[in-house]
Structure formats: C-alpha cells, structure tokens
C-alpha cells in the first residue's frame, strides 16, 4: 500500500518536472517563441515573486486579488450549496416539493451561469453582489441535481428498515435518506466548486475592479504575459486546493465506503 503511494507520488512529480523542462526548453533554451508573449518558467516565477509586493499594472498585489476572489467565490458558493443541497434533498424526498420546483428548475437550468452576467451588471452593478450572484447560480444547479438524485436513489429496503423500526417520514429522511445520499451530495459539492471557480474568473473579467480574473484581464491589455500566467497558475492551484479541502472533509464525513 505504502509502496504504491510512493510510486504514485514519484510519477506525479516526474510528470510535472517533465512539463516544466519542456516549457523551459522551448522558451529560454531554444527561443522557439518570443519571450514577451510566451515567458519561460523562470520568468513566470520571477513575476510571481514580484507580484507578491508590486501593485502595478493592475492595482493590487497577488494577495489582494486572491483575497478578493476568494471572498466573492466563498460567498456565492456557500450561498449556492446552502440553498441547493437542502432544496435538492426536499425535492427528492417530498413529491409535492418536486412537483412545484422541478418545472421552474428545468427551465432555468439550461441557461449557462455566465449568461446571467449582463443582467446582473444591469441590476447590481459591477460589485461584489453581481459576481456573487453569478457564482451562486453556478453553484446551486449541481448541488440541487446531485442531492436530488442521491435522495432518489435511496435503497427502498433501507427505508423499509427505518419504517419497521417505527421511524416517521422526516426521521427516515434524516437517519436514512441523507446519510445514504451523502456521497452523491459531496460529488455535487465538488462539481459546484469547480463551476463556481470558473464562473468567478469569467465574472471578474467582465464585471470587476479586483480579483484574479481582473488581474489577468488588465495584464492582457498591457501585454504582460508573465503576469497573466501568474494569475492563471494561482487560479489553478487555489482551485485544486479547495477541492482537496473538500475531499478531506468528505473522507471525514462519508463513512463505510461509497457503495449503496
């Protein structure tokens, strides 16, 4: 088991190292691409360090942009899953809720979250609320769908067990429905997180004065490819980190394997 893990880590490290080497070779060594539009990994690393303290040309350090992005993302995400998961659960368990909510949901769902941006700018301006709303829309849909499906897939024998032990409907939902849907719910939370992070960057490129998306956009205007890459890499790393946190939480909360 341990050996397998070590092997896995080694392969991961090797693959990243190979990627960086190729990048280095095509830029600093063979100069295949012009360094102003395709900077080498060394240049990007330097830009990264510089961006920790320097505010130009986009009005903020990396940390302030990151903080702005995280704040908006978390607001929108938490609101999205906070409404989406319970709503999905209720829709999956109570037929009446399903009948009322499903038609609206099915109509709204096909609209891509980014499609909400123009309307949100009109309604809420280009501040925090507009962006958070767009992220909310991205996060809420997968949360609903996964919680709904997870509850619907509850093993009917499990429900029988609870009923023969005298559990009422709400009790059965809490003691049986939700625990058995938990793996699905977590899958939804992860999809929601990815969707939120993507929508965030899109929203910041279109309607913002701060954040990682804004930073990328501003640096495009002044042609600073190294800063753009710094922004992209930060977005990637932070996204991966958030997913990792969620997975840790899942391993803590989802007990006894993921089989039905």
């Amino acid at each position: 088991m341990k050996e397998k893990k070590l092997k896995y880590t080694l392969i991961s490290v090797a693959s990243i190292a190979a990627f960086l080497s190729v990048w280095y070779l095509v830029t600093d060594v063979f100069h295949i691409f012009p360094s102003s539009t395709f900077p080498s990994p060394v240049k990007v690393a330097q830009a990264f360090i510089r961006k920790l303290t320097v505010k130009t040309p986009d009005g903020g350090t990396l940390a302030t942009h990151l903080a702005a992005s995280l704040k908006v993302a978390l607001y929108g995400y938490l609101l999205g899953i906070g409404i989406g998961v319970p709503l999905g659960i209720l829709m999956g368990w109570f037929r009446k809720v399903d009948l009322i909510v499903k038609p609206i949901f099915d109509l709204v769902r096909p609209i891509p979250p980014v499609g909400w941006i123009p309307l949100m700018i009109l309604w809420l301006g280009i501040g925090m609320r507009a962006k958070a709303t767009v992220i909310f829309v991205s996060a809420v849909t997968p949360s609903i769908i996964n919680a709904y499906t997870g509850i619907k897939q509850t093993n009917s024998v499990h429900i029988w067990v609870a009923r023969t032990f005298g559990a009422k409907s709400l009790e059965t939902l809490i003691k049986v429905g939700i625990p058995s849907a938990l793996p699905m719910i977590f899958a939804g939370l992860k999809v929601s997180l990815g969707a939120s992070w993507m929508a965030l960057v899109a929203a910041e490129m279109l309607a913002s004065t701060e954040g990682l998306g804004y930073m990328i956009q501003m640096n495009r205007m002044v042609g600073k490819a190294d800063n753009i890459m710094v922004g992209m890499i930060t977005i990637g790393l932070v996204g991966a980190m958030l997913t990792w946190i969620l997975e840790k939480l899942e391993n803590k909360l989802v007990k006894g394997g993921r089989t039905k």
Binding site: H158, W160, T164, K175, L182, V254, G256
Partner: protein, 258 residues
C-alpha cells in the same frame, strides 16, 4: 404429519385469505391468491416456496410494508396496517446501513424507539455477542463477509425486541458451508431467545432443519399447497434417516407443485 387447511382462529398470527395483485398500466399480475395460514406464539414456521412465487411480497404484507389486495393479517387479534417495531424483519437483500458500524446498525431500532443510551449499549452488546460478532462492533459493513452481514441483520432485528421475526431468505446468497453454519446459529439463537419466527426459503433441507412446521407454497398465483409438522428433536442431524426421509417426502410434494 401432513395437515392442510386447518387454521386456528386464536393463533398469534393469522393470515386470512390474503391475496395480492400488482397493477402495471392496464396489466394486472396476480401474485398471491387466497393465502391462509396461522402461526402460534414462539412457533418456528418455515414458508417454503419456489423462486418468484411472491414470498417477499407475502413477508412485506405480514410486516405491514405492503397492503394486501384482499383478506387481512392480524397479529394478536390486531389488524396489520403499518409496519411496527414488534415485527422485526430480516431482509433478503442484506440491507445494512453502509454508513453505520455494526454497533450502529444493531442499535438502530432501539435508537428509533428512544431507548436511553446506556440500555441501548447493553442491548446492542448482548445481541452482537449472541450472533458471535464480538470484536467487530466498530467495523463497517463493507469490511464484513456475506455471512457476517446477515448475522448483523439478524442481530438488528432481534435487538428491538420484536415479538415476531420475519426472515426473508436470509441465507439465499450465501455459500453452502456458510449457510449450514448460519442455520445452526439461527437455531441456537432461537432456542436461547424464543420468538415467533416466520422464515422464508426455497431450500427444502433448510426448511426441515429449522421448522416446527413447514408451509408449502405453490407457483404463481401462489396459494398454500400443504403444511407439514416437523416433530424431530432439536438440534437436528441432517444426516439422520428420519431427517432424510422427511426431506425426501417434502421434496416429492415440492415436485408436484412444479
């Protein structure tokens, strides 16, 4: 030994002319047709029937999980309309909660019934011991073998102190070796902690090994074909000539229902 059709109106469980049809669109499938049987208190009755004849449907009706289309079931004179903790069920498909440990699964019933934690712990421990799973209290079902899971299922049903236990082919998908072992276990548990048991199977040997009385069902639409009283001493020896003779005789009756 064979005595068919007589039912006692004062028996603990009375299944009175029960029938069940499933309606799917405009097709109606008649599964149970006029099932009448009675079970005495602390009696071990085995319902023996071919595959797909409606055994699970009958168990669900007895449990109160499903409504009969005709007839009624009474337990202690009270009509069965809903599931109740006094009738414990061991399901055909091992239906342990995968997110709970052995302890959590076994203690689920008492928890639902609001039994205080201390008493619940003691009871849980007792029944885990009874089914021989001490040491596995903290294991999740995914780590257990099929036989162990069924033991947990039995302990879970017992732990709620039901007066009636309904067991729906609990050993149906165990290998032969484990199956023998589990039959001995069920016999032992039942002898130590008497309950009224209705045990469903399609295995003749299992039926003869366990039953005070065997109720033989027909093919679909299902009725009661025959009843056999098994007066062998317990625990039974499934190699004894008496056992083999009974097994063969019932086997002949089963052949006739095919």
């Amino acid at each position: 030994m064979e005595h068919s059709g007589k039912i006692k109106k004062d028996a603990m469980i009375l299944c009175d002319h029960v029938s069940k049809s499933f309606v799917n669109g405009n097709e109606t499938a008649e599964v149970l047709k006029d099932i009448t049987l009675s079970v005495e208190e602390n009696e071990f009755v085995v319902i023996l029937g071919p595959g797909q004849c409606g055994k699970t449907t009958l168990v669900n009706i007895l449990a109160g999980l499903e409504r009969a289309s005709g007839g009624e079931v009474t337990v202690n004179g009270k009509k069965v309309t809903d599931p109740e903790p006094e009738r414990g069920v061991v399901y055909q498909k091992t239906a342990l909660f995968p997110w709970l440990t052995v302890e959590g699964n076994v203690g689920f019933g008492p928890k639902m019934a609001g039994v205080p934690k201390k008493e619940r712990k003691e009871r849980t421990k007792h029944y885990i011991e009874l089914v021989g799973l001490s040491g596995f209290e903290k294991s999740y079902p995914i780590k257990l073998s099929g036989g162990m899971r069924q033991r947990v299922g039995i302990a879970r049903a017992y732990c709620n102190n039901p007066s009636v236990l309904l067991m729906d082919e609990p050993f149906g998908h165990l290998d032969a070796q484990t199956r023998y072992l589990m039959q001995e276990e069920v016999e032992r548990i039942w002898s130590q902690d008497k309950r009224t048991v209705i045990f469903v199977t399609n295995n003749i040997e299992e039926a003869v090994y366990l039953a005070d009385r065997i109720v033989l069902l027909s093919n679909c639409p299902t009725t009661v074909r025959n009843e056999f009283k098994i007066d062998l001493q317990r625990p039974r020896d499934n190699m004894s000539s008496e056992f083999l003779r009974l097994r063969e005789e019932i086997g002949r009756h089963v052949e006739m229902t095919r």
